[in-house]
């Protein structure tokens, strides 16, 4: 255990997005010769389970902790403990409303979803009905992406009507069934926004099964299925964050902080719109993952 140890507590574990973050963290770990562990609860509702993971991480005396808060307020007492023990915290994915984290590596989810809304408006001719299939009703990412999309439509696209918002827990099958019901209920639907990878795949699947290919689909994040769908035209495009970058930057900042070096307070890893036209561009290809 001579290598510095950095614990990453994320919001999730099994989904491709988090696996991509983990891949970025692992890449940094290899590059900077540190040990990294990566853990996250099963669902983004399990705020207390995340606390237990944080507690176990603290017991291991890490050089630094990377933390993606499910509920930033709820985590503060725990983070304070870490601060008292002299362990620097780097927030990732979404911020922590506090000055405890020495740095935050994040995507502005609301702005990203706003971009998706603008793209949707552009693709459906700035008028008509759209619906959202979101992964979670209460988690930060779910709320930010939903509200980011909805607010932008309300502000800038008055002729677009949001007819339904349903939540599918990021489960591909459940999202499929939800989308099929939405499509049935709204035969004149113009577009659907799937707010994370699982939701987007569910939407695509429903479109495939119902043959309603006239409906414009916009996704979020990447992964092999979405990339393929964009290639074959069944998905108009998607927003991608830079999860590998998030993981990489988090570990890098954490290591620097643990050595007492100064780190930038905000590391914006950015988000991008990608579609058939720019998918192969190097700066886009770099942030996509399978």
């Amino acid at each position: 255990q001579d290598k510095p140890y950095i614990a990453l507590i994320s919001k999730g574990f099994q989904h491709q997005f988090w696996q991509a973050v983990k891949a970025g963290a692992d890449k940094a770990a290899a590059e900077f010769d540190v040990t990294v562990t990566f853990e996250g609860p099963d669902t983004e509702a399990q705020v207390d389970k995340q606390m237990d993971m944080l507690a176990a991480a603290l017991a291991k005396n890490p050089a630094a902790i990377g933390f993606a808060a499910l509920d930033s307020q709820a985590a503060i007492p725990m983070l304070r403990k870490a601060q008292e023990a002299g362990i620097p915290i780097v927030a990732f994915d979404s911020g922590v409303d506090s000055d405890i984290p020495v740095a935050t590596a994040t995507t502005d989810n609301a702005a990203a979803a706003g971009l998706a809304a603008d793209k949707m408006a552009e693709l459906i001719g700035d008028a008509g009905k759209v619906a959202l299939v979101v992964h979670d009703q209460t988690s930060r990412t779910g709320i930010d992406r939903r509200d980011g999309f909805v607010n932008r439509i309300k502000e800038s696209h008055p002729n677009i009507e949001i007819v339904d918002i349903q939540y599918g827990a990021g489960d591909q099958l459940q999202s499929t069934e939800i989308t099929k019901a939405i499509l049935t209920a709204h035969p004149d639907l113009k577009g659907i926004f799937g707010a994370n990878e699982g939701s987007a795949i569910g939407v695509l699947n429903a479109i495939k099964e119902t043959g309603r290919s006239e409906v414009i689909v916009i996704g979020y994040d990447s992964g092999a299925a979405q990339k393929a769908a964009i290639m074959d035209g069944s998905m108009a495009g998607a927003i991608t964050q830079n999860p590998v970058g998030i993981g990489y930057e988090t570990v890098k900042a954490a290591l620097m902080a643990s050595k007492g070096e100064s780190v930038p307070k905000l590391i914006d890893t950015g988000f991008f719109w990608y579609d058939k036209t720019n998918m192969d561009a190097p700066e886009i290809a770099a942030v996509l993952y399978d």
């Binding site: 099994q14 696996q19 007819v163 939540y167 489960d171 099958l173 099929k180 049935t184 099964e209």
Partner: protein
């Protein structure tokens, strides 16, 4: 041995069972009527097919759960076992590139094997079914992630794989009825397992074990062996569910499956199968699964807010079973 004719009426135990199903069926009809009136979009062929398709995975899992529950056990592992078999199919077809049939067989065999392990734990090692299958649920969840490398396995290299679930064999013959194959599989499986339950030795022991396991043992029957066989059969059925979902998503999603067990068990119980074991039917289970799908689909079509959907679903489940209880009490 006596003279007094206590049998003034001929007992009709079969009729009772049929009536029970009829009643669950009545709940289903009420729901269908309600939603037809509530939304013009509900009663379309395409939506009915969508409901059926939405039932296929839960229905198949519920059939597996029915078998185990009739023996007086419970199976919490159906959901993650389904995922595990899907991953196995993925490994065999996509990673190893083996032929289609091998993948299908591997998935079902993996399911049966895991079922056999659960069955052995329950029958031979006397671990309570709840614990044995809870343990298996966690183990299989973990193994699915391990084997798949925590990422989905796509079946793009296996042409026709998506036809298992979404193609329509029936539609190819009768174009007016494009029944998806997943639904066809569900119905055929229901028929087959219904037959096994009512007409074969395995089915008989299934009911007998749930009714009084000790009596079965005292009768000199190899109770443990049959129980293991039943769990293995249930596991194999989960393998079929794994193929259906993998085909539908054209991928094995290793993180999926947790929570599916409660839906399956709920369908079984709504369908009138007793968790105490000894009584139950596949037809009831199918109706139970349909009630759940219709309810969810209908509420979604009506654009009921999701939090209220949950409240309504919970209430309807209680009401449906309560109505069933009432009727049964009135009968006896």
């Amino acid at each position: 041995m006596t003279t007094a004719p206590a049998l003034s009426a001929k007992a009709k135990p079969k009729a009772n069972g049929a009536q029970q199903k009829l009643w669950a069926f009545a709940s289903l009809i009420v729901l269908l009527l309600f939603f037809s009136v509530a939304s013009p979009n509900f009663m379309q062929t395409s939506n009915i097919l969508a409901i059926l398709q939405a039932t296929s995975v839960n229905g198949v899992l519920a059939i597996a759960a029915t078998l185990v529950i009739i023996t007086g056990g419970i199976d919490l592992s159906v959901g993650t076992l389904m995922t595990f078999t899907a991953v196995i199919a993925g490994v065999v077809l996509t990673y190893a590139g083996l032929p289609f049939a091998v993948g299908v067989v591997a998935a079902v065999a993996a399911g049966a094997g895991c079922g056999l392990i659960s069955g052995t734990l329950v029958a031979k090692m006397k671990v309570p079914p709840f614990i044995a299958t809870l343990g298996m649920m966690l183990i299989l969840k973990g193994l699915s992630l391990v084997i798949s490398g925590t990422k989905p396995i796509y079946f793009n290299d296996t042409p026709g794989f998506d036809q298992i679930s979404t193609g329509s064999f029936v539609g190819a013959i009768i174009p007016a009825v494009p029944l998806p194959n997943g639904v066809l599989i569900l119905f055929l499986l229901a028929l087959a397992i219904g037959y096994v339950l009512n007409r074969t030795v395995l089915g008989r022991y299934c009911f007998a074990l749930g009714s009084n396991e000790e009596a079965v043992r005292l009768s000199g029957v190899n109770a443990d062996g049959w129980k293991m066989a039943i769990y293995a059969l249930a596991g194999g059925i989960c393998g079929i569910a794994g193929l259906i979902i993998a085909s539908r998503l054209n991928s094995a999603q290793p993180a999926l499956g947790l929570g599916y067990e409660l839906d399956a068990i709920a369908a079984v119980v709504i369908g009138g199968t007793s968790l105490a074991g000894g009584r139950g039917s596949v037809l009831g289970t199918i109706i139970g699964a349909l009630i759940m799908s219709v309810l969810l689909n209908g509420l979604r079509i009506m654009s009921v807010a999701q939090e209220w959907q949950t409240v309504v679903t919970g209430s309807i489940i209680i009401i449906a079973v309560y109505a069933d209880m009432m009727r049964r009490r009135r009968l006896s």
